[in-house]
């Protein structure tokens, strides 16, 4: 981004943040919950986008890490009465470790094969959750109490969860931005763009790919933990394959390799199914499917990608008006 647009972008960001901070005091509880869910999805999508968008590793199994995060939080709260706020980082760390470990065998796989291996992971999750009934409550799941706001803050639990999710999202966005604009981010994109050249430039792609998997899973785990708190209930069938597919839909529609794309994608996967329901009660998913297809026809690079291309075209029009130097051979 060019220098003059920076203050502008910052202003827009601040205004957006101010508006989101005010929303809880004007919206109904149900709407508020929906927006909390958007933030939570955005965190998961941000994680998946780092892996799939920036690093080029396609995962169809991030629902598994979401489930792992959710159940970590749920079991900690349910069994050991750990405060909700502590369970979130715990879930993140656990998933980071799990993701890193999963990333090691995943190194041997590429493209489709990786997608299918992760897909099997997502598939197996509900069954596994049901199997370890003692911990997970089996297919009944675990019913939790919605965490209250700490004393002194006069917020309803829904408002409190909204702010917690928002704060976590903002924090994780900053971390992602830091990671992606520096040495690490360049290495990740280099591996995606040209794995062979990246290795030849001294990038340890095995390490970076596993790390990307770990961080990505960690983000998704944090999102899962937050969702356990927000919904106050976890059950195996909420974490079926369709959740993983929805995440993939989210990042592709939002825009691969884009931080803002995560939020746009989250808005899409949260609200568009509802709209589809409003349009047709009989076959809402058919409408949703049509939405997906039309989106991909018109914006194959997602919302953020299309916006970027438009922006780029404007910028290039600027460059074109000044004749290119002859020094390019």
């Amino acid at each position: 981004m060019s220098a003059p647009s920076r203050p502008l972008a910052l202003t827009v960001l601040l205004v957006l943040l101010a508006v989101t901070a005010l929303l809880p005091f004007v919206l109904s509880n149900f709407r508020l919950f929906q927006f909390t869910q958007v933030f939570i999805y955005a965190i998961a999508l941000l994680g998946l986008n780092m892996l799939t968008g920036y690093n080029g590793q396609i995962s169809l199994g991030h629902g598994a890490f979401y489930a792992l995060g959710a159940y970590t939080a749920a079991v900690m709260m349910d069994r050991w009465n750990v405060p909700f706020l502590l369970t979130v980082p715990a879930a993140g760390v656990l998933c980071l470790g799990a993701g890193f470990l999963f990333g090691i065998p995943a190194l041997r796989l590429e493209g489709l094969y990786l997608a299918l291996a992760t897909f099997s992971l997502a598939l197996a999750v509900p069954q596994i959750l049901k199997y370890f009934e003692h911990w997970t409550g089996g297919s009944q799941g675990l019913v939790l109490t919605k965490p209250d706001a700490p004393l002194g803050l006069r917020l309803t639990p829904d408002q409190w969860l909204y702010f917690v999710s928002l704060a976590v999202l903002v924090f994780l966005m900053i971390v992602a931005w830091n990671l992606l604009r520096g040495r690490t981010g360049r290495a990740l994109v280099a591996i995606r763009d040209h794995p062979i050249a990246a290795e030849a430039m001294g990038v340890n792609s095995a390490l970076y790919k596993s790390l990307a998997f770990g961080v990505s899973a960690g983000y998704t785990g944090v999102a899962g933990a937050l969702s356990a708190g927000a919904i106050a209930f976890v059950a195996p069938d909420a974490f079926n394959v369709f959740l993983s597919i929805t995440f993939l839909v989210g990042i592709v529609i939002g825009g691969l390799a884009s931080i803002s794309g995560a939020i746009l994608g989250a808005l899409f996967i949260q609200f568009v199914p509802n709209w589809a329901q409003d349009i047709s009660k009989a076959a809402p998913w058919a409408i949703y499917g049509v939405f997906l297809i039309v989106f991909m026809y018109t914006m194959p690079r997602g919302i953020a990608g299309t916006a970027q291309a438009l922006w780029g075209r404007l910028a290039r029009a600027d460059v074109r008006s000044s004749p290119a130097k002859g020094g390019l051979l």
Binding site: G182, R183, D193, A197, M201, G202, A206, L328
Partner: protein, 476 residues
């Protein structure tokens, strides 16, 4: 023995052998490079230069042999470890990170010399910021040195080929390598003597650079043969309308312009050749004729305008294109490949006859007809590709570098067959070649292409006398 000689060389390649399927790319190659030396590695296209580089930078693992860097074997190390030991390289066909900017590309080149960790990066600690600043400054300095400052913030995708070559060089130099492997740094440029290149010297570092030159001197020291046919064809020229006329072809790949107005004719029944260095636009020219790339300008074939038509249709009009790198169906048998060659023929008589006719020219293919094409040797695959083209019974045969990667004897054999086909079957041929010596021997008419423009045209006899052609393409 003096002490210096005892020290191990910077790079020692010992008996390295590399095979791909039925093709032996490297056959017990050995050589040394000392610290501070500049070594040129020369050989025709496909001689194995790039494969050798890939073995040294550990992208390939040789089947046999050893590679020692400063006396230490590097065959057990991953490519990134080799890079960290100070081996930098460029790639023949450009291997840039297309979505990263030029500056970021060069900064990835510094990756191995920097050490900030994941966590520090995530929190962007002050050390990270300093390191990032230093990397940026170093990269910008390099870009300024290579006159790339203007494009520093432009994504690599879409820049002109020559610029990208320099970006790659900058990226390789950014790592401050002890050994710099330059793969065809002059590829696609104005022939071998490139003034700007001389200025680029990263201190006294040894470099190993493959350059396209003809094969061993013995192969090219032959007497130019006088072929009586040549004069006959030149006489015919001008009386008949040409079979193919291309006028003012312009083409681009993405943002890169490759052809800047190329015009030429192909005479019916003759052999026309287009010469030029790597990246001069020869392949694109052929692809423009056969409809694989869209172009501005006009192409007429047998009196009809054909530009803008799909290759599938042009095949049916009688144009057979034998593409660069042969384009054989490696998973299909020889016979199936040939059957596909006749796929577009209208008449349903594509039977034993055609196979017989083709096998006459290429008896080896008859022996191997049940074999999967991927197991053939390079020369046999080239023969198969040409044979597949002939199965169409084409009026015009487009040949893209049939000499690529083949031993001189095999090249000679293939060219002999091409001439025989041309003479017996009356098939007109448009041949694109880097191997100027042999192409000029064969052709009736020749064009020289440089950076997407025709710079010379005429009969081979005249072109051979031209100083520039001799210096740049014939090597004497």
């Amino acid at each position: 023995m003096p002490a210096a000689a005892v020290r191990s060389p910077l790079l020692a390649v010992c008996d390295v052998t590399m095979r791909f399927g039925g093709i032996v790319a490297l056959d017990r190659v050995s050589f040394d490079i000392g610290e501070g030396e500049i070594v040129g590695l020369i050989g025709p296209n496909g001689a194995g230069k790039t494969t050798l580089f890939n073995c040294v930078s550990r992208l390939y693992t040789p089947n046999e042999g050893a590679v020692l860097l400063a006396g230490r074997s590097i065959l057990g190390l991953g490519p990134h470890r080799v890079a960290a030991l100070g081996v930098g390289r460029t790639f023949q066909n450009l291997a840039l990170f297309s979505t990263l900017t030029v500056l970021q590309n060069v900064m990835v080149g510094i990756h191995a010399r920097t050490h900030s960790g994941f966590l520090a990066n995530a929190l962007r600690l002050s050390g990270v910021r300093r390191e990032e600043r230093e990397m940026r400054d170093a990269a910008m300095e390099l870009l300024a040195f290579l006159e790339l400052t203007a494009v520093a913030h432009h994504p690599a995708a879409g820049l002109p080929f020559g610029t990208l070559k320099r970006v790659e060089l900058a990226r390789a130099m950014a790592g401050q390598p002890r050994l710099l492997l330059l793969d065809e740094p002059a590829g696609g440029r104005r022939a071998p003597h490139e003034p700007r290149h001389a200025g680029v010297r990263p201190g006294r570092r040894p470099r190993l650079r493959p350059q396209d030159r003809r094969g061993p001197a013995g192969d090219r020291a032959e007497e130019p043969r006088r072929d009586p046919r040549v004069s006959r064809h030149r006489w015919v020229r001008g009386l008949m309308a040409p079979l193919l006329t291309a006028s003012d072809l312009r083409a681009r790949y993405g943002w890169t312009r490759v052809l800047h107005g190329v015009s030429f004719d192909v005479e019916e029944g003759g052999i026309t050749t287009i010469l030029g260095a790597n990246g001069a636009g020869k392949t694109t020219t052929l692809r423009a004729v056969s409809g694989l790339v869209s172009t501005e300008g006009a192409v007429h074939f047998a009196g009809r305008r054909i530009d803008g038509r799909a290759p599938e249709d042009l095949v049916r009009a009688g144009i057979a294109h034998v593409p660069e790198g042969r384009g054989t169906f490696v998973g299909l048998t020889v016979e199936e490949n040939l059957r596909l060659g006749a796929y577009a023929r209208r008449e349903r008589t594509r039977g034993a006859d055609d196979f017989e006719r083709v096998y006459q020219y290429f008896p080896i293919l008859r022996e191997r007809r049940r074999q999967v094409a991927g197991t053939l040797s390079g020369g046999e695959q080239q023969m198969l590709a040409i044979a597949r083209g002939l199965m169409l019974r084409p009026r015009l045969l487009l040949l893209d570098e049939p000499s690529l990667g083949l031993a001189p004897l095999v090249v000679r054999e293939i060219f002999r067959i091409v001439r025989a086909v041309n003479r017996d079957q009356g098939v007109s041929v448009l041949l694109v070649e880097q191997n100027a010596a042999i192409a000029l021997e064969l052709a009736d008419h020749a064009y020289v292409l440089e950076t997407g423009r025709v710079v010379l045209a005429g009969s081979p006899a005249i072109l051979k006398q031209d100083d520039a052609v001799r210096r740049s393409y014939l090597g004497y």
